[in-house]
């Protein structure tokens, strides 16, 4: 059996006496697009933060390609091939769009903490960054400060930064939050394109996006996963219907 890209075993997290994540077991295979859905306050973002080392877990294990991530800082986890975006846009707003992408290429191209290389002299860096900008359709914006981009463009840039480092496990936290319909369609196409042959894990509220993009869906309710499976199985699951999806799907129509 192949090692799953990401595996959670009995993951728990408490803040004080409140248990937010109450024992999550989940296995996500390679090149799978996996969406995590659930009502507000279910702990989706907390789950993301636990996986990416932003918070330490109370108990349980997170394995990336079979390696236990316990005690690792975000930058160490990132170097092992996991990259994430944030629910609230998290870019370097004072730097240019080009510079944002170039920074995200530095580590993966092996520049580390070097102070004997000039970044502008590296053709790989410049071309690599332009290629990413091409993919996220921001080539014409390359020299603008990232902070002046429109919201949708900033979200696209955030996805660009997330994928640029070449991580094979991509985690996106509500990539379409706060977007109009046309912007959402644009971002969905973008995500589909850039996560080709990569493992994608995303939290998303928009059911259209979830059912359009995901190979598998997990439903998180009050810190527990109540169902995991193919979209049609999850849709048909009576527990899910009762807890969440019925209401959510009705709201869509």
């Amino acid at each position: 059996m192949t090692v799953p890209a990401l595996q959670l075993e009995g993951l728990r997290k408490s803040f004080g006496k409140t248990e937010i994540i109450r024992g999550v077991d989940l296995s996500i295979g390679r090149s799978e697009r996996h969406a995590i859905i659930g009502p507000n306050g279910a702990g989706k973002s907390t789950l993301f933060n636990l996986i990416t080392g932003r918070f330490p877990q109370t108990s349980g294990k997170v394995r990336l390609h079979g390696h236990d991530l316990a005690g690792m800082a975000p930058f160490e986890i990132n170097r092992r091939g996991l990259s994430r975006s944030f629910q609230i846009t998290n870019i370097f707003s004072n730097m240019t769009v080009f510079e944002n992408v170039r920074c995200s290429l530095l580590w993966s191209q092996g520049y580390k903490y070097s102070f004997w290389n000039m970044v502008s002299r590296s053709r790989e860096l410049t071309e690599g960054a332009m290629e990413i900008l091409e993919q996220i359709n921001l080539t014409s914006r390359a020299q603008l400060p990232a902070g002046v981009l429109s919201y949708a463009e900033q979200r696209a840039l955030e996805i660009g930064i997330t994928i640029a480092g070449g991580a094979d496990v991509i985690m996106l936290d509500e990539p379409t939050a706060g977007m109009s319909h046309s912007e959402t369609d644009y971002i969905v196409e973008l995500i589909r394109k850039v996560t080709e042959n990569k493992t994608l894990i995303m939290v998303e509220h928009d059911m259209g996006v979830v059912f359009g993009l995901a190979d598998y869906i997990s439903v998180l309710v009050y810190g527990e996963i109540i169902a995991t499976g193919r979209p049609e199985e999850v849709r048909a699951n009576p527990k899910v219907q009762e807890a969440y999806l019925g209401a959510a799907l009705e709201a869509e129509h």
């Binding site: 730097m95 520049y111 502008s120 053709r123």
Partner: protein, 435 residues
């Protein structure tokens, strides 16, 4: 000093340094070479030497503040210890007649500064923000206090003197004359500035900006924010040490004042005044500050009041500093519209200057009346000697203040409007009129 990504067409060739990047450095070198010919007096050279040392120090400080987002209240320590170490080396060379030429001395100051920065940085750069600022203040006070405790290194209250002329002659130069020291300092200033500029273009230099803007995001790009800060901190310590070595060569004495928090405060002020957002900002700040210090302090006893007011005005109205104000004009200049602004500027800034001069005159009058010896009523201000106890100078000063500020306020709306038009592509010079 803009970023170097230009067009895809130029990228296909191996990117080398372009003319636009090299030109400022060539101009700076030529400028520094001919400057002593234009201003050859000893006092002018003294000021220029001080200016260049301050430039190196301010640039090293901006590696922390501007590039890395670390507010330090104790940067003078690294310059100070570098200087003290060079002083000791000077004395060792003198005692043992070691074959070391004087011009290499600053590198040892730099290495000593680097050593201290490595130790302090190993724990102070874990966090940015308040924690970092507090640690820097604590270390600053600690080492300043050591200056009277560890007398062997810091020389106690008398400080540590030395003599630069005992070194092996360097191509026949013994550095007896100020002008020889000038060229030595000029060489190190250009070299340090160039190295610091190049540092900002390296991967760790670029990531310093990234960590400054958003440490969390940088961590998710594979970089430890703490280590990125650490490397900037070490670099800043190194170049501060070089400034210390230059100080030791120029003044031949270091005292506890070199380590004091006052000194750390001044370099913060200089860097902010010049502008933290651009590489050349601290250079402008160091030049402006040294000029103000040396010119104003001769003219007025309360020059520090003006300096404080200037700093306050910079923080409140021009947070980009001198460099920020200059760069604000770039878009208008690109469109060839700087000329539009000349008239409105004159109509606003001239009265404002008169108003400020009036206000300064009031301050000076007040100071003279309160603090001059009894019976001494003569004072000289703006090349005029008068009786500070008579009513006329007060009236003139008040009229200048009120009138100047009123006129400046009259001119301001027009200036704002012209400014807006000059920065709007396609706008005409005046409302209604054809261009």
């Amino acid at each position: 000093m803009t970023d170097t990504y230009q067009k895809t067409a130029t990228v296909t060739k191996a990117p080398v340094f372009s003319m636009a990047q090299v030109a400022p450095w060539v101009i700076a070198v030529i400028f520094l070479m001919v400057l002593p010919i234009a201003f050859g007096s000893n006092s002018a050279i003294t000021i220029m030497n001080q200016m260049m040392i301050t430039i190196v120090f301010a640039l090293s400080y901006n590696m922390l503040l501007g590039q890395g987002g670390m507010l330090s209240f104790g940067h003078a320590v690294y310059m100070g210890v570098g200087g003290f170490f060079c002083m000791h080396l000077m004395n060792i060379v003198e005692a043992n007649e070691l074959p070391i030429p004087l011009p290499v001395l600053p590198i040892f100051g730099g290495l000593f500064g680097l050593g201290l920065a490595t130790i302090v940085g190993s724990f102070s750069t874990r966090k940015a923000g308040t924690v970092f600022a507090m640690i820097s203040l604590g270390i600053g006070e600690l080492i300043a206090a050591c200056s009277v405790i560890i007398v062997a290194f810091f020389g106690g209250e008398e400080g540590m003197p030395g003599d630069r002329t005992y070194f092996l002659p360097f191509f026949g130069t013994e550095f007896l004359r100020q002008i020889e020291v000038y060229y030595l300092i000029a060489f190190w200033t250009v070299l340090s500035a160039l190295l610091m500029y190049l540092f900002s273009r390296t991967p760790v230099g670029r990531m310093a900006n990234a960590v400054r803007d958003n440490p969390e995001r940088a961590e998710f790009l594979g970089y430890s924010a703490r280590w990125v800060r650490f490397f900037s901190f070490c670099g800043a310590g190194f170049f501060a040490g070089i400034a210390g070595g230059l100080f030791a060569i120029n003044y031949e004495i270091l005292t506890e004042t070199n380590l004091s928090t006052t000194q750390s405060g001044i370099i913060l002020l200089i860097t902010f005044l010049g502008g933290v957002g651009f590489f050349f900002g601290p250079i402008l700040g160091a030049i402006a500050f040294t000029l103000l210090q040396s010119v104003l302090s001769l003219q007025s006893e309360i020059w520090q009041l003006y300096l404080g007011a200037l700093f306050l005005a910079t923080v409140m109205f021009f947070p980009g500093g001198l460099a920020g104000v200059l760069m604000m004009h770039v878009p208008a200049a690109r469109m060839g519209r700087l000329g539009w602004l000349v008239g409105p500027y004159l109509r606003t800034i001239l009265p404002a200057l008169i108003g400020i001069a009036g206000l300064a005159a009031l301050m000076e009058l007040l100071f003279h009346v309160r603090h001059s010896a009894t019976g001494d009523t003569d004072m000289t201000l703006f090349w005029v000697t008068f009786d500070s106890h008579s009513i006329l100078p007060w009236i003139v000063a008040i009229v200048a203040t009120v009138g100047g500020i009123w006129l400046a306020r009259q001119g301001a709306p027009k200036l704002r409007e012209t400014w807006h038009r000059a920065n709007t592509p396609g706008a005409a010079k005046t409302t209604g009129g054809a261009a």
